[in-house]
Symmetry: none
Subunit: 409 residues, 2 copies
């Protein structure tokens, strides 16, 4: 049998709980969504626990599981994946930190943890720090959105077991990093040297001179937190023999893609916000299916509405997702296997990720089509897939795509 | 409660995917099968992933799981189980090889890897090799079907980490086995000594003299491949306190039985082919239920049709399986617990094992009978068992048979 291509679409945070004002239905249950329902009616459906029943997943752990990895084995904290997300080519053994540009006084007391909510000029500031050498440690540094940034230490024998330099409050001096285990001594020393050198390079930087001249707070220091070592993840290219591409608006998800060897495709208009151009994402995904074995799309918008407690916004997002699915339905290559699911529920009533399972639909040649007629939480519960886990999805898709390896003889 | 007997029937490769020419139904969904459906209607049903969702099982790993073992812990390759299948009483620490009788010239260059497709006389040739002593290594050797054979080394400190002597191609000299790790040195040496001694004993053997006289190629050497060490498996007699018997036509499955302490019953007419006498198997199973706690039956025919891509053949096999189940239904002892399942799907469209789950029906006193009325893939998905794994089956059957051990107090 010929191997088929796989299209995995992850509706971030789409699952929900019944909402009283919606007649005790979920946003998926009330929104009109003919294209999503078409896939459900012509596919096999079920409920998926991204990690395990009741476990509240992060987007990072959940994406690892949906890509077929055991997060308990390969997840080492958010830092390394965010660093990958802002474009640092992180590798095994690198230690990554999440950072803020901050404003400090002459004694390094924190005046503002977001450097006056700086938005412009952070890329130039980052360039002043990127490539710094601290003894045998090489520094990689990139700006993220607004005041956020990522710091990576590269070198031999580094350890993530060091304390933060970010005091997590104002009017307190930037902290010295301490080794939490003896072998982390060199890493803590390098981090403290970084703090000193960063202040030196930033305090009189032209971007900050202009900010001060405009009466804005200077971004004259970088504080680090959440050290994590980059895990040794076998990429999907090797693990499954898949040439893979991924589309996402937000940096963390791009980082998840890069971490497992999924090439990141930049799609103009795919912002990761509510204004994201979903049909552009659909078109890019369909184009990528011609040249890749696996294409992953993350659509963030539903999660944002969940976090905001915005039920009507979430309904509108479902309608927009449905337009995206109509575009995919219209131009889907015949041999593709399609999976529609979420990385977690973000119920409007909770305003955060919950442990509720999410619907999953698999569509494609050979699927045991069931009786389910709608793509929503309660319809999916009656489907032919039963209740599966995030880590089960990739083996199921590989088997349907005639790409699975036989275990035994 | 009195302990009950358990009848586990494994329809090898019976699960399938919807087939366009069958109106998008599976062979199980279109074949008339009143007896199978009777068991489904009067039992509890579900889907079973032999190993895990989406994982394509081998028959060997899957049977281990259905017997309640974790293949990841006890599966060490096909060789040891095939050796057990041809009747060698393999034990922990034994190293087993899959072998071919081959034809070589005077310099041990391979002329034919199947010794002219030899069919007769291999048992006499095997006897000439069985019992050979190579230093402190004892040789056990049995002929299999046609040119195939099994070789077992018994002794202290043997290792399976040795390279093959089979070059896997013609016109090449038989290979010297090399140790792949230092501690495998003695095993490689023994294997090379075996090659030499086997040629010496076979080249002028009367069977070969007759073959040469008839113008046929002599089976004048044995080449080995796929070394595997026999795992230390706790037999079902000890693990579950079950006196168990198994019926199968094919050697590998007989080997799986022997490996876990299930006595192999030879049933005249149970060939493992499409011509197998299924009703004879049913009668033998019913007779064995009077004297054993667990009786396992493997019916290979559906798998053969799957591998051949033969949909109508698979439908015919379902009808014949149904006759077998009618015979079992007619004479089943009242206290028996019956399970009907498969070791994997072998879809006609795939011509190989797939990762699709298989139907499972459990019938017997005390079972929570559900609404399912037919024994097939999609009906089973709506059953009261939900979606379980291969390793779950034996504990469920033991519990229903009042044989399960309590975990805790």
């Amino acid at each position: 049998m010929d191997a088929r291509s796989i299209l995995l679409i992850i509706f971030d945070g789409l699952g929900d709980r019944p909402i009283a004002e919606l007649g005790h239905k979920t946003p998926l249950e009330v929104a009109p969504k003919p294209a999503l329902d078409w896939f459900a009616a012509n596919g096999v459906n079920g409920l998926l626990d991204p990690i395990a029943p009741g476990v509240r997943p992060g987007s990072d752990t959940s994406h690892l599981a949906l890509f077929g990895y055991d997060p308990l084995k390969v997840y080492t904290g958010r830092g390394p994946f965010e660093a990958a997300g802002v474009g640092i080519e992180v590798g095994p053994g690198d230690v990554a930190f999440r950072c803020n540009f901050v404003t400090v006084d002459g004694d390094l007391n924190v005046v503002d943890r977001r450097a006056g909510r700086i938005r412009e000029g952070t890329e130039e500031l980052a360039k002043a720090l990127d490539g710094m050498k601290l003894g045998r440690v090489k520094v990689l540094f990139r700006a993220g959105t607004e005041h956020r940034a990522a710091l990576v230490f590269r070198g031999k024998g580094l350890s993530p077991q060091v304390s933060d330099t970010d005091p997590h409050e104002h009017a307190v001096k930037a902290l010295d990093s301490k080794p939490l285990v003896p072998k982390a001594k060199a890493t803590a020393k390098a981090l403290n040297a970084f703090t000193k050198e960063a202040h030196k390079r930033l305090k009189d930087h032209p971007v900050n001179a202009e900010r001060t001249a405009r009466g804005e707070m200077p971004a004259n220091l970088v504080l680090a937190r959440g050290a994590g070592i980059f895990p040794d993840i076998e990429p999907v290219t090797k693990r499954y023999g898949l040439k893979a591409a991924g589309i996402a608006g937000v940096a963390l998800i791009k980082g998840m893609y890069r971490a497992v060897g999924i090439e990141v495709l930049e799609v103009p208009g795919a912002t990761g916000g509510l204004d994201t151009n979903m049909v552009a994402k659909a078109d890019a995904a369909l184009a990528a299916l011609r040249t890749h074995d696996l294409v992953v799309v993350n659509v963030k918008a539903a999660d944002l509405c969940g976090h905001d407690g915005n039920a009507s916004g979430k309904i509108t997002v479902v309608e927009r997702i449905d337009q995206m699915m109509a575009a995919i339905k219209a131009n889907l290559p015949q041999e593709a296997v399609v999976a529609l699911t979420s990385d977690h529920s973000t119920p409007v009533a909770i305003k955060d990720h919950s442990g509720d399972p999410v619907p999953v639909t698999i569509f494609g040649e050979g699927v045991r089509v069931d009786d389910v007629m709608a793509y929503d939480e309660r319809s999916a519960a009656k489907g032919g897939l039963g209740r599966i886990r995030g880590q089960d999805l990739m083996p199921i898709l590989l088997s349907l795509a005639n790409r699975g390896e036989k275990y035994g003889a």
